[in-house]
């Protein structure tokens, strides 16, 4: 149970929208491993990892988070991609494999608590209820916690059954944790380089979104692998995602810089956001409608 300790916190919570798929059976790891970009063949109990599902042209269909919990694989993905992802997972089960796919939408959710530092979140959830180790779930009564590795801030994800959300949020609200609005959540994720549906659903290649670290070219074939391998060997990625800031008003959409190259603004909150730009662009980008962006690597 969470102990009531203090209500002096800047931490906020946000309930993430994601599709939930649960895969079980002795062949579930090898089955899923054939579809995704990373290698989960040695995933251990309670381990969490990020991965991608791509089409044959190498473009991202879904960005997924896979966790091995009690011999079941929990797959969290983008809600809009859930249909395609599940179709791929279900239709590709070899007749001789033992794999069961279940739909967890509406049954399980992820609540994210984020703040300046992990100690503050630990105070809220209880020192022993959050793993110090990054990327390993910790079972706590009727939910699980996961310490997420961020560049600047701290974040703990809570995996919880939907029928327990109300009780859980009541408890953390009593500790001073406030519900985050979408803008505050977006500011947090832009600052920490967390991509969202807005980035993933644009048909980009993993390298264009700086996601090379979750693409394993040595694991063997998966949909899109040929394209990813060719890009890697030839080093010809033409655009990449950058964090930007601007003093001007700018909306999500496609723009042209004064060099004539396309700039795709994917996220924006109060002049800060994420954009996919040509690798040839310098850090100061002038758009043809007099807007200037200062960009930096994620």
């Amino acid at each position: 149970m969470i102990k009531l300790q203090s209500n002096n916190t800047n931490c906020k919570y946000y309930i993430q929208k994601c599709s939930v798929t649960v895969v079980e059976g002795k062949d579930s790891v090898s089955h899923i491993n054939r579809i995704i970009t990373s290698n989960i063949s040695n995933i251990s109990d309670l381990e969490y990892c990020e991965s991608l599902i791509c089409d044959a042209n190498g473009k991202i269909i879904d960005a997924i988070e896979i966790s091995n919990i009690s011999e079941q694989l929990l797959i969290l993905g983008i809600p809009r991609s859930a249909g395609k992802t599940r179709e791929l997972i279900v239709s590709g089960i070899h007749w001789n494999e033992e794999v069961k796919i279940m739909n967890g939408d509406g049954a399980l959710s992820i609540i994210t608590i984020f703040g300046d530092n992990i100690e503050e979140i630990k105070k809220i959830l209880g020192e022993d209820n959050v793993n110090q180790k990054i990327g390993i779930w910790k079972e706590v009564n009727n939910y699980y916690t996961l310490n997420i590795d961020l560049k600047l801030d701290a974040q703990v994800n809570i995996l919880i059954q939907n029928n327990s959300i109300e009780e859980f949020t009541k408890t953390i609200i009593l500790q001073g944790v406030k519900l985050s609005d979408k803008d505050t959540w977006d500011i947090h994720r832009i600052r920490n380089g967390i991509l969202s549906e807005q980035e993933y659903n644009q048909g980009f290649l993993p390298a264009e979104l700086a996601l090379d670290k979750i693409v394993d070219l040595k694991k063997g074939c998966y949909p899109g692998q040929e394209i990813h391998a060719r890009l890697e060997s030839r080093g010809k990625v033409s655009k990449k995602i950058m964090r930007y800031s601007t003093d001007s008003q700018i909306d999500i959409g496609t723009y042209k810089s004064d060099t004539g190259r396309k700039i795709r603004i994917t996220s924006n909150v109060n002049g800060k956001g994420l954009a996919v730009v040509s690798v040839k662009e310098k850090n100061l980008i002038n758009l043809d409608d007099k807007i200037s962006l200062i960009t930096e690597e994620l």
């Binding site: 089955h31 009690s70 279900v90 590709g92 967890g104």
Partner: protein
């Protein structure tokens, strides 16, 4: 007990529902090769052609000579005594395929032409 099961908590299972009547063709060279491979065991053994997720294009072909599976989920076609089994789950992906055999040193072996595939990998093992 994990959060994903037990304690009266169960999730709806998603199953493959698209099952069609399978009709495949086999070229003379493929049939000759199948007969050679299975010779003397035609009654007890069969060729199972199946698909699974993976490969560069989305799905991978799999072909195995094995003892006749006991499952009633297979559709069976007989080619001059050689039985080809295709599982119901693969029926939509494999309906209409042509099995061929190329007797060449480079790129030889069984080859599948699939009218359902909008693309195929250069090696011929993957389709999508």
């Amino acid at each position: 007990m994990g959060i994903l099961g037990g304690g009266g908590f169960s999730l709806p299972v998603i199953t493959q529902t698209d099952v069609v009547d399978v009709k495949i063709t086999v070229t003379d060279s493929a049939l000759k090769q199948m007969k050679n491979t299975i010779k003397g065991e035609e009654d007890s053994h069969c060729l199972v052609v199946s698909a699974q997720s993976g490969g560069c294009s989305g799905y991978l072909y799999d072909m195995k000579i094995m003892e006749n599976p006991e499952s009633d989920q297979f559709q069976i076609q007989d080619f001059e005594g050689v039985k080809v089994y295709i599982h119901n789950n693969d029926s939509a992906l494999l309906n209409g395929i042509e099995l061929d055999f190329k007797d060449t040193l480079m790129g030889g072996g069984f080859n599948i032409t699939n009218p359902n595939a909008s693309r195929a990998c250069g090696c011929g093992q993957s389709f999508g």
